[in-house]
Symmetry: C2
Subunit: 321 residues, 2 copies
């Protein structure tokens, strides 16, 4: 018999899930659509039946120890998804309460996706030996999970770790949250695209990006252009790393992590994002921290980190690691 958990990653488009063992091996995985369900009850019923199908096919030797869920705006304390802008279901969704109807006897826990990624990094990834670190996910937005003394920081509200919405510039770029100048409007896959467009307006240098519309441009295209030495792409990375590194200096002053891991779409640019981030972080650090904080790529970058993170949450809750 083998102990396993189910890790579920809820995104705006897809919900992915996997059956994960103690060592982080994914025995089977699959996904359902998230975006096509307007009705939450229909969604959760289908999610459960699909998971059941996947699980029963290999269940013979398995003992299910728990279920972990990573979701945007997930609240660990309440097991809710609260006002997630990229999901169809508005308001406060009592995800865990509903899901527990199907799984009465095992722990079902939920947290936000970046927190789950941080647990994944700690249990399966590059932070195995660390007790204090930060994970930054650079996707459509910027998410973060903060680990202090081996534990996720949830805070009083359950929403600690909202680094995407610290202010960078008082009258800066419009943010989806309704405010201006939030960090994620600069440092994310979307942020670097906005920066590239700003630079095309400000500079006269030639660039292959000038042939691409805003709708078509992706962080991946900017990365490819940077690899070929495109000046707009290179400056966009420098600028993005400058803003990200400068603001990460604050989380270092607050919690003094051993390392900061970058994850998500934009992190696939590797040295193009790591190097300027590291440089501007150190430039802005109080001397006692300078050159002492590692800036690393997530070691789970090429794996299904979101599902592994959700599985790590389940293992942590089952208290069996």
């Amino acid at each position: 018999m083998k102990d396993v958990v189910i890790g579920i990653d809820i995104g705006g488009t897809y919900t992915k899930y996997g059956i994960v063992d103690r060592e982080g091996k994914c025995l089977d995985e699959d996904f359902i659509s998230t975006g096509t369900y307007q009705d939450f009850d229909a969604y959760i019923e289908n999610l459960n039946s699909e998971i059941e199908n996947t699980y029963q096919a290999i269940a013979d030797d398995l003992v299910l120890k728990g279920i972990g869920i990573g979701a945007p705006n997930g609240n660990y304390y309440k097991g809710t998804i609260e006002n997630a802008p990229n999901l169809n279901w508005k308001g406060i969704i009592p995800f865990v309460d509903k899901f527990k109807n199907y799984y009465k006897d095992i722990p079902v826990v939920l947290t936000n996706d970046a927190n789950a990624a941080a647990l994944g990094e700690m249990i399966y990834g590059g932070a195995k030996e660390m007790k204090d670190f930060v994970v930054i996910t650079l996707g459509t937005g910027l998410g973060s999970g903060i680990i202090v003394n081996g534990e996720l920081v949830y805070g009083y509200s359950g929403f600690a770790g909202e680094l995407g919405h610290v202010n960078v510039k008082l009258r800066g770029r419009d943010c989806g949250c309704g405010r201006k100048g939030c960090l994620e409007t600069y440092a994310s896959a979307t942020g670097i695209k906005r920066t590239a467009f700003r630079l095309m307006a400000d500079r006269t240098v030639d660039s292959e990006l000038r042939k691409v519309s805003y709708a078509d441009l992706s962080a991946k295209m900017i990365t490819e252009a940077a690899r070929k030495g495109d000046p707009i792409a290179l400056e966009a990375f420098e600028h993005t790393g400058k803003i990200l590194g400068s603001k990460l200096a604050d989380i270092v002053a607050h919690t003094s992590p051993e390392a900061i891991f970058l994850l998500g779409g934009l992190s696939q640019a590797r040295e193009f994002i790591i190097e300027p981030t590291k440089k501007w972080l150190n430039e802005n650090l109080f001397p006692i921290f300078r050159n002492k904080v590692k800036v690393l790529l997530s070691s789970l970058q090429d794996k299904n980190v979101a599902v592994l993170g959700a599985a790590a949450l389940a293992w942590k809750e089952a208290n069996t690691i």
Copy 2:
């Protein structure tokens, strides 16, 4: 028999100590000079003999359970005081190792003074029921202690919680740390004095502060002027609270505290500093945190909070609370 600890608060001018019971009652207290000792060994020998005198006078019914020390640039992990700008002893001072020569059988622990204040607030003060909060000391500089999940945040380096040195303005005011624009150059007893001087230069309004030299001006005088409606003093408080509140929004986004406690000289201005800080904090908060974080005066403000905080550290270490 009564269990007690000794709390020691090391400042640049004086070292205060007290014999403190479990309820935070100070049975006796005294102080020695810090600043007159160029030689650390002579200082620590004298400190120990003075403490012995004080303790022996009332020792009959007491059992000494531990010693806690709050010191500038104190490192909890190593028991050292490291490069403290306001102390005579340069470099890394192995305080705990030296002090343990006198107290071999009981725990001797050291942390920085603002961390000690945070423990004092948690064990004896207004944060008794809280697990997530921040203490900000507004004195000559700005110190901070961050509590997450009922534990002090020390971080990987042991120096977490350096809020005084997060950047407010890239090419801002010169800071004692060698950089520019650190938060404490604006938000501290010294910071508000610098702001008042800047405002006297910028504005033409009359002010009683115009009669006072920079050397003579104190935060207390600015508070008294504000109480009388002095426009420069009032604007100085508004500006100080604006910068402090705006930056505190970052620590809320990071750790989501239930409350932020203000302590130290400038906090004695009470509503003059609390109100603008609260206003600008909420102005800058991500909506899910807005109007949910209390901004409070430390309830230990009128007591010897530094000695009580050091005592709280000792109790925490003795694990007997």
